[in-house]
Subunit: 325 residues, 2 copies
């Protein structure tokens, strides 16, 4: 699989169709609004991309957890990303895309980003000279912009590279995290539109809070790099965005408390919400916390999905056709 990923076989069969899976992600990670995220095993979007002779990008179908997405390529995150790829490389051929959504939209788990990344990784495998992963980032940002109205890469970066990734305007940087650390990610069945979650951020931020968040980010990054759980515990606190968004998440306080009660290094809203996450030093703690967080959402009358994953989650990958069937 990974050898194929680096240098795909250009057999006639491979060259005409490829499939890729991009995994969910925790966006923002409390202290890195729009720039930090990590991938999460266990849920993802799959894209089947076919090379077509017409010089266009076409969304053939959307299956799975979300089906009411635009089929017009320019309005679809995966379509827009592939259009951007075609333009930049001056490709003569086009692409036809079929999306299999495993991540709910409006969940805060990077649903739009995953379709975009899966389509790019599959299309890239069909190129005569596939690009390195980092080179797909710009096209992915073009796709993400269509979905959310903003060029933020905090979900795209971890999906492209795997693990915890810093995604700035024009670069990706994978950050080291101890292998044993896990996250609990709980998605309550209620939709929170990214645009709505952004509206509460329109008003300016006080210098005092900006500085406190800077300090938290610095502690968090240094802690991750040194594998120092206590530094991460001090830093993994969102004093900037969480206070404004938490009223949008039903049961926020209870769910956060449930996450913290199981020894979390920190807990907050994933991406624009309503999903919430906690970080843990051990998988067992993450599992217990996930159950407690789901129970807290249930006490608000909300069913939820639960994922437990290493922080060093998987990167998007090509999928064998048989495997995907």
């Amino acid at each position: 699989m990974s050898a194929q990923l680096m240098e795909p076989l250009i057999s006639p069969h491979r060259a005409l169709s490829a499939q890729a899976m991009a995994y969910a992600s925790v966006g923002n990670v409390a202290v890195g609004f729009d720039i930090l995220g990590h991938s999460v095993a266990g849920a993802g979007d799959r894209a089947v991309v076919r090379r077509i002779d017409e010089p266009v990008v076409r969304i053939a179908a959307i299956h799975g957890r979300v089906t009411n997405l635009p089929l017009d390529a320019a309005s679809n995150t995966a379509g827009a990303a592939l259009m951007s790829l075609r333009r930049a490389l001056g490709l003569r051929h086009g692409f036809e895309v079929e999306l299999h959504k495993g991540i709910a939209l409006g969940s805060g788990m990077g649903g739009s980003a995953a379709s975009c990344v899966a389509a790019l990784v599959a299309a890239n495998a069909l190129l005569e000279r596939p690009l390195p992963r980092e080179a797909l980032y710009g096209f992915a940002l073009d796709g993400e912009q269509v979905a959310s109205g903003s060029r933020h890469g905090d979900n795209l970066g971890p999906m492209l590279l795997g693990g915890l990734v810093l995604s700035t305007r024009d670069r990706l940087l994978r950050l080291s995290v101890p292998e044993a650390w896990h996250c609990a990610l709980v998605h309550p069945h209620v939709v929170l539109e990214t645009r709505q979650a952004r509206a509460v951020l329109a008003q300016g931020f006080d210098l005092h809070d900006v500085v406190a968040q800077h300090a938290n980010l610095a502690l968090f990054l240094t802690g991750c790099q040194r594998g120092d759980a206590e530094l991460v515990r001090e830093g993994l606190k969102d004093v900037l965005v969480e206070p404004r968004r938490s009223p949008l998440v039903p049961g926020f306080a209870r769910v956060k408390q449930a996450a913290l009660d199981h020894g979390a290094l920190g807990a907050s809203i994933s991406g624009a919400g309503p999903s919430m996450f906690g970080w843990y030093e051990r998988r067992e703690d993450a599992e217990r916390a996930a159950a407690a967080m789901a129970a807290a959402f249930a006490s608000e009358g909300l069913a939820s999905d639960v994922l437990v994953s290493p922080i060093n989650g998987p990167a998007a990958a090509l999928v064998d056709e048989e495997q995907a069937a």
Copy 2:
């Protein structure tokens, strides 16, 4: 010296009087407003502290570059810090302090912090059980608050520990930086009051700029830790505070350009200004840049002092009495 620093000799002579030097520092370091700073060799404040029987703190005299500072202990940064130390430890004896100012006030080089740290390090050496350096931080913050009206430790941290330090509300963390990296620090002879420089920051900050600064901080910290000059070059840019403060620094644009023209990893205002600094991979570059920056200030009619120092500058240290004389 360093053995003395860890465990001072409690000879009758040592126990009654000690002297310490605290060095200048670059505050904020462009991306870490109020939380990042590094010490700078070549300029500092010296404090002579004597143990007295009366249960008070007294400022006996202030010599050197600044003499019009309050002699009332509670209004003086060094005095307030020692009062806080006395209270916290329940000391029966008092301290008498003599300050020798080598750093100009209102220069952006940590003039008030240096007096405070020098006095604490000297007084600490007179205690029966001297505290570790980190334990002096809270008292130093109490002193800094008297001078600037805000509990920020970006100058105190590097003065206490040396080098590049992250100073949060309640902890210090020394960060690694390649030994070869140097800074050029140029202080034009014009005073900029810290309180005035803070007034321009009263209005709220836009989310877009906050996110850009977060990204820069993350690139900078990761670059320092990895010794990756290109990451630091990308990150060492202040998009938050510098745009508001640069109009207060005469010749800002020219001086910054002079700093960048010599291969700077980045250049900005030191602390609240008007001093400006640049970071360089080699000492020679920092030396050339410092001369060019001083020339740029001169073209505005301003004389200036120039310092070139490793980013890993010195920590405050006890000074032999003969050496200080």
